[in-house]
């Protein structure tokens, strides 16, 4: 009897396991599976921080303006806009016939409500910042929204492209803190081409198609974003067919995947660029922001442009790109990446990799190796050119880069003391404490250059966002100007000028702008958008368009 019982148990278990392998066959929806290594931190657009959250927001919500992969903005829920002559009043005509996912109609009231929601909540980390210049936002009737400004801005479309339209009837009770920041928004009702079906944090996000979308009804029925803990696993999931597309992958796998006929690898400029930088602590000790905790222990040599220039010449950027990115990147100039399109000053000529020249510059500037140990000293012979070089310990590429830089710069008589530091501790010592010599870090960016440009501004030193301590009144003036210049061309000229200034001052060394690498299975879905200046296969434009391979 006992044996029989055990046997039954085993058989049952086996049956369960096998049944899961078979799957069900009745009328299955067309499901697109996307693999990524992160997960949205929240479904509340006001408090979201991670890129993955914004990917989901862009799919589930609509906005007044929408950012395209070619770098332009197009009107989304608004069908037209009128701008007053003084550029202080914007009148938007909202389309008719747009419904929320729960069936309720979307009106101008909802649009105005949403913008006000973000405007009135300073606790909303990012979205509130886009509304600082808004004065009033009103729905004058069911299809008209009027926004008045405190001062004119050149990039209204950019500002509005992040202000997701949420339903007033859902958010009415959550307009103020703390309700607004604590609201989890699990149902995530919006008007976008996809609607929220299921969300398990750090596991998956399941979206269903909104076939009644006014503009972009998707061809697939469902999209599932599945989270995997590591990049390696991500690639494997694509190869094994567990997912149909992956939004990131390590460069080292490109060669292998290119040899796989079922997979297509796509590379290009990323939608949200990331810029790696080599930060030189060049803050002026006399202007050390001690009242906010500035300590300013930077090596004096780094305040000398000659030293920074020599180091720039001693850096073989191509080798860095080859080894760290396996070639998937382009040499960098300033914090403004090439992915920012026309904002990027491509007329600047990068410093050539020329070790002899670098050595010459240092010799001429008086940094000689007086004691013959291979390391140069200050002109007054006091300190050797030994720089503490730190990076955040959660970066897997930075150690490799640090190693390479250390070797390259040893050719010009400079040594580095390498150390990985906990990101929190690194923030603490970076800025505004300025308790370091060199840091290897990086910035993420929006499509508008304003944020990255602010990092060079003197006004950001006490804030800690100016991490180099660079202070140039000429630059500061231009920064203010571009913030209010309404003419696109004129603004671009200003931005180009600013780039030239900081490039000539060698404020940073920008090793590279990395490319994005994504991949999809050619035997599952087709219609991926891969020919745009920016690549993002998980962008709404791609996802609404793909359909199963016949």
């Amino acid at each position: 009897m006992k044996i029989k019982y055990n046997f039954l148990v085993v058989v049952t278990l086996l049956a369960l396991v096998l049944s899961a392998c078979g799957g069900l066959g009745q009328g299955t929806p067309v499901v697109l599976r996307v693999g990524w290594a992160g997960s949205p931190d929240t479904l509340n657009p006001g408090t979201g921080v991670l890129a993955e959250a914004y990917t989901i927001f862009a799919l589930v919500y609509d906005t007044i303006y929408e950012y395209q992969l070619d770098g332009t903005y197009k009107l989304d829920v608004a069908e037209s806009v009128e701008v007053s002559d003084d550029n202080l009043t914007y009148t938007f005509k909202i389309r008719d016939g747009i419904n929320f996912h729960d069936g309720q109609p979307m009106t101008a009231q909802d649009v105005a409500f949403s913008v006000n929601l973000y405007k009135n909540n300073p606790d909303f980390i990012y979205l509130n910042a886009y509304t600082v210049n808004f004065d009033t936002v009103e729905a004058t009737d069911d299809s008209t929204v009027v926004i008045t400004m405190l001062s004119a801005v050149p990039n209204m479309d950019y500002l509005l492209s992040y202000l997701y339209i949420v339903p007033e009837h859902v958010w009415a009770d959550y307009t103020e803190a703390p309700a607004s920041t604590e609201f989890e928004n699990l149902e995530m009702v919006g008007t976008g081409p996809f609607k929220m079906l299921e969300y398990v944090q750090n596991e998956f996000v399941r979206l269903g198609a909104n076939k009644e979308h006014f503009d972009n009804p998707p061809k697939v029925d469902e999209v599932i974003f599945q989270t995997f803990e590591s990049d390696d696993v991500l690639v494997q999931s694509l190869r094994s067919g567990a997912v149909d597309m992956i939004t990131e992958m390590p460069a080292t796998a490109v060669e292998t995947l290119q040899g796989d006929s079922t997979i297509q690898v796509v590379t290009g400029a990323p939608f949200a660029p990331y810029v790696s930088d080599v930060i030189f602590n060049q803050v002026d000790p006399e202007n050390c922001p001690t009242d906010v905790g500035g300590i300013c222990t930077g090596h004096p040599a780094l305040r000398d442009r000659n030293v920074r220039l020599a180091l720039a010449h001693a850096t073989d950027k191509q080798k860095l790109i080859d080894i760290v990115l396996l070639g998937f990147g382009a040499p960098g100039l300033t914090l403004i990446p090439d992915g920012l399109g026309h904002w990027y000053n491509d007329s600047l000529q990068d410093y050539e990799f020329d070790v002899a020249n670098a050595n010459q510059i240092l010799d001429d500037a008086g940094y000689l190796d007086t004691d013959g140990d291979g390391v140069r000293e200050m002109p007054d012979g006091s300190r050797p050119l030994t720089f503490r070089t730190h990076w955040p310990s959660d970066s897997i590429d930075a150690p490799r880069m640090a190693e390479l830089l250390s070797e390259m710069w040893s050719e010009v008589g400079v040594t580095l003391e390498l150390q990985a530091i906990d990101p929190d501790a690194l923030t603490a010592e970076c800025c505004p404490a300025f308790d370091f010599d060199i840091i290897l870090w990086g910035w993420g960016s929006d499509p508008d250059p304003n944020l990255l440009l602010s990092v060079y501004a003197t006004s950001e030193i006490p804030n800690g966002y100016n991490e180099t301590g660079y202070s140039n009144p000429a630059y500061d003036e231009l920064y203010v100007q571009q913030g209010v210049e309404l003419d696109l061309d004129k603004r671009r000229e200003l931005v180009w000028q600013m780039q030239e200034i900081v490039f000539n001052d060698v404020v940073y060394i920008i090793p590279f702008y990395s490319q994005t690498i994504e991949a999809y299975r050619v035997d599952r879905f087709t219609g991926w958008i891969t020919d745009t200046p920016k690549i993002e296969l998980s962008d709404v434009s791609s996802l609404v368009q793909v359909e199963p391979v016949k």
Partner: protein
């Protein structure tokens, strides 16, 4: 001492340990340098006011232990009204209500974040522990019984090698072999199956559990094998085994009725002690296999320096270990009649 005094002494000590962990937990994460508010969101869009707002939201604006830390008269004034308005006491108060704070990363209550994950980890560890105990014991018994034969050496070497394998390494290897051979690539269940029939879901989860459980079993079985073997060897050399043999009992009867019960006593202690180590193992296995458990939560929170979550996990784990030790002690005392005589 009587059985009851023994019990109460153990329970009392367990409670004290938990309190100690609670206090330690608080200070552990306050000692960290850096500003969790800033570093979590390293972005120039985060303006000063928003930073302040975040700080207030997380209660980081209050003094840590007592009111006289900050000599800011305004703050001290607040405190004077209610001297328990310090981070430490707020922490304690929240704990009694089962609140573990809010995650820096997602702003959800930590207790909620960890709740579901706790069960997932228990499922995985539970299955793994049971399997490793059973397999380890069976082979340990076999090895001891057939001591000094090739079966013994074989089992011994297997146990020793298994014990020497780094957990995450074994996991990676199994994962890649498995994913090329039809096993799921990770996770607990196939996404989108939550509306499927119950048995399908159970089978799906079981399928996802196979590789991580296998990893766990291989790594931990070694220890149980070794302990069972040496324990049984000791027991089998005892006089009462000879008595049993002299009574005419068969080898099987002797093993079953005399040897195993005694030999298993050390195993009980090991299981409890192991719980501390299995946490480290769970962290590795869950991160390799993307299993949404407490270990995975630690790994993610580590990456993002989400201190409230780390703090919550730490507390949960420590309390579980204390509980497990307590249960092991009590179980041991019930199994071994000699213990009461202490």
């Amino acid at each position: 001492m009587s059985r009851y005094r023994f019990l109460w002494k153990k329970i009392g000590w367990a409670i004290f340990t938990v309190l100690f962990v609670v206090v330690l937990n608080f200070f552990l994460f306050r000692v960290l340098p850096g500003d969790p508010v800033r570093s979590g969101t390293r972005d120039p869009r985060l303006k000063k006011d928003a930073q302040e707002a975040l700080r207030i939201r997380f209660g980081l604006d209050k003094p840590v232990i007592n009111c006289f830390e900050t000599l800011n008269p305004i703050k001290v004034g607040d405190c004077a009204i209610n001297p328990f308005e310090t981070q430490f006491f707020i922490y304690l108060r929240n704990l009694t209500q089962g609140e573990l704070g809010f995650s820096f990363h997602t702003n959800r209550p930590v207790a909620e974040v960890l709740g579901a994950r706790l069960w997932n980890t228990l499922l995985l560890i539970g299955a793994g522990q049971i399997l490793s105990i059973v397999i380890g014991m069976i082979f340990g018994i076999l090895a001891a019984w057939k001591a000094r034969t090739s079966i013994d050496y074989g089992a011994l070497i297997t146990g020793l090698v298994a014990w020497s394998l780094p957990t995450f390494w074994l996991g990676i290897i199994l994962l890649f072999w498995g994913s090329n051979n039809g096993f799921p690539i990770g996770g607990k269940a196939t996404p989108g199956t939550s509306s499927y029939p119950f048995f399908y879901q159970v089978g799906d989860i079981l399928r996802h559990m196979i590789l991580p459980t296998l990893t766990y079993t291989i790594v931990y079985m070694g220890e149980y094998l070794l302990v069972m073997r040496s324990s049984l060897l000791d027991v089998l050399a005892e006089d009462y085994i000879l008595t049993a043999k002299a009574k005419g009992l068969t080898t099987f009867q002797i093993l079953k009725d005399h040897a195993l019960k005694n030999a298993m006593l050390p195993i009980v202690t090991i299981i409890a002690i192991n719980l501390g180590f299995t946490v480290a193992g769970a962290i590795q296995i869950e991160s390799v296999f993307s299993w949404p458990g407490l270990g995975g939560a630690v790994y993610e929170a580590l990456e993002r320096r989400d201190y409230p979550v780390l703090q919550g996990v730490f507390l949960l784990i420590a309390i579980s270990v204390v509980l497990a030790n307590l249960i092991a002690d009590l179980t041991y005392s019930f199994l071994d009649p000699r213990v009461q005589a202490e």
